[in-house]
Symmetry: C2
Subunit: 395 residues, 2 copies
């Protein structure tokens, strides 16, 4: 098995797009190929995450048409659907095809038109990545799932709900502040100075989660070019290494013992750390799945960055911000940057690569430039989890 590197990255503006998914994915892909200094003829396979293209634009099997749009020829082009983790699963598989020696240069990424379809329709259709027989049947959608998780968190750690709400607000404040600094973020130059009361007093969505606890639906795409490490130096002075990946799957909520400790995430992260031969203490940055503020806290604990029940207070104390113990979602995360479902995992990797090149947006760059970073992407209500650990050096 060969070591794998990322040699080029591309990312559209997140928000409301007039472009189609095909156009958005092409934009990100052409940027990534240009960034890597490669052309279409160099690309041997395409790995694309897309969650709901059939509902958004009446198009399924989008990967094939993206390959055609990009003039890549009759290469293998595969669509992966793991709800919000679609792109991460695609990237993980892309890394495997390069690592195995089967491909020497591939394009991987994701795309979604989730904002254009409207919040009501998006909420209904994305809820199909819950366990439909038991959760869809009772009308459960994701704000409801994470509201339950927040209540379980508060109860489990004997924390007054209002106290948790204030601590969760710090996730929103931090991620909106960094999103406001990120020119590609949906909320660029918006909501950069939220206060706790702005978050807790905004519109209630699913008690205790307010609108400011929730990420938005977005349109957008992100893409990467991957090749073997041995070839990477031909293309770039700053290759970023894929050191380890993990993937896990969950069950219906009714079979889960504790929404704040999803086994799928714990297991997937464990595998990724093992493959990368790293531990949480080695990691300098996280891009993790803050679909709701409580989700960021749960992820921080599952990945081993804080003891159980301690991430809320640690966040309130700034330990997940610049200069803290583990800078988290310095891109703005899903909350500040936006959440184009099938693109999110690729966007997380994009911003890790930018950080490792010292090219993050002004005010968001971690100093010193991070050596190791990790993404965490969550599909549905813990149905699919995927982790990718990257590094500037090979461990």
């Amino acid at each position: 098995m060969r070591d794998v590197a990322i040699i080029g990255v591309g990312h559209t503006k997140f928000g409301r797009a007039s472009k189609t998914s095909l156009e958005l994915f092409s934009e990100a892909s052409l940027q990534a190929m240009d960034d890597a200094g490669v052309v279409g003829a160099d690309i041997e396979a395409l790995f694309q995450g897309a969650a709901l293209p059939g509902f958004e634009e009446g198009q399924v099997m989008p990967a094939a048409f993206s390959a055609a749009e990009l003039n890549l020829g009759p290469i293998p082009a595969t669509r992966y659907e793991g709800a919000c983790a679609s792109a991460s699963v695609a990237i993980r598989d892309a890394a495997m095809w390069v690592s195995s020696g089967e491909c020497d240069m591939v394009l991987a990424g994701g795309v979604e038109k989730a904002l254009t379809m409207g919040t009501a329709f998006a909420t209904r259709t994305f809820a199909m990545s819950c366990h439909t027989p038991t959760e869809g049947a009772v009308g459960l959608t994701f704000p409801g799932v994470f509201a339950m998780a927040a209540r379980q968190y508060a109860k489990g750690y004997d924390m007054p709900l209002d106290s948790l709400r204030e601590k969760m607000a710090h996730v929103s404040i931090k991620n909106h502040r960094h999103g406001a600094l990120n020119p590609l973020a949906q909320f660029y130059k918006k909501m950069g100075n939220l206060k706790v009361e702005d978050v807790v007093n905004s519109m209630m969505v699913a008690d205790p989660l307010t609108l400011m606890d929730c990420c938005p639906f977005s349109d957008g795409a992100a893409a990467l070019v991957l090749c073997p490490v041995e070839d990477a130096k031909k293309y770039t002075d700053d290759p970023v290494y894929v050191l380890g990946t993990g993937q896990g799957s969950g069950s219906a909520l009714s079979k889960m013992e504790d929404l704040t400790k999803p086994v799928s995430r714990i297991q997937s992260a464990k595998v990724a750390f093992k493959r990368a031969r790293l531990e949480p203490k080695d990691i300098d940055m996280l891009e993790l799945h803050d679909c709701f503020t409580i989700a960021e806290l749960i992820a921080l604990e599952c990945l081993g960055f804080f003891e159980w029940g301690k991430a809320a207070e640690a966040t309130a104390q700034g330990e997940t911000d610049l200069g803290g113990k583990i800078p988290t979602n310095m891109s703005g995360g899903l909350i500040g940057k936006g959440h184009p479902i099938g693109a999110t995992g690729a966007s997380q990797v994009y911003w890790m690569v930018k950080q490792m090149r010292g090219e993050a947006a002004k005010g968001n760059q971690i100093d010193p430039v991070p050596e190791y970073g990790m993404t965490d992407t969550l599909g549905g209500d813990f149905g699919t989890l995927c982790h990718i650990i990257l590094g500037r050096t090979k461990r």
Copy 2:
């Protein structure tokens, strides 16, 4: 890279199912695991093809919930969507993960509830795997696509359309005859004695294709257990080797020069033959994508089994039947066995394995037992192609 073998197979009855997709996939998977003599704890990853579960049952990300339903634990579980080629793409990827050494035992397959959703809704939604901006916009569906292909075939080879219709009828007659002998087929014991006039005089769907030129929509699932060849003998005396796979992608029809010579199929098959170190003359059986009678003729030529324009007459002469040059779709194919979209690729592999074990249905078994076989699966109108070459011996 390690060689890979199939050590267990499972297949539900195709047709109208009262079971859900989760239940159908579990049925096929438990059969496959039982056939292999393995249990859930042995399975390290799940690779599942499913084309339109969101439209059928309001469920996306089905692979995760299948893993949960089967009690496989928090293992990676990935859904692949390549329209009708979904399962083949999943199996191809599964073989890669085993071949690379990353997994020692995996489950792969596919599932669909295409019949239960009704022909009208199924036709509309599956048409989304056409190029929506140009083909969906004009209301094109697959019968129309293949009617155009039939007309191009007749015109290209200077063949009167009525003559082609009679020759295509022999595909329908052959595949219905074998489907009628296959207890798991949708048309088991039905239409086993069609005559040319039954086919050409049945209801016109898209001129020149009648109802009897078309495969049905079906519900069903099929699954396989794969492991490295070095372990296979521990589980079975009849492992079937995965000798080579290929995958290709196409474009909008408007960019295709000739619907009867899709580059995506030619390229994908070429790769599969190269990997398997085999040529068409070495292959003893085909399970190929006869979504329409004309589609079988096109596939036979693209894969190199007949000269361009010669498959129609060869079929009429029985060269693709038992005892002919290349027995094709002895399971009944999509036309006689049924077409549960996301399961079809796995069903093709299932019936190849059954043939290679000498366990095909009475009247369908090739004699002598085939040594090498090949599947061909087509997603959409040449958007995704996938080929899998299997063998009883390692080449």
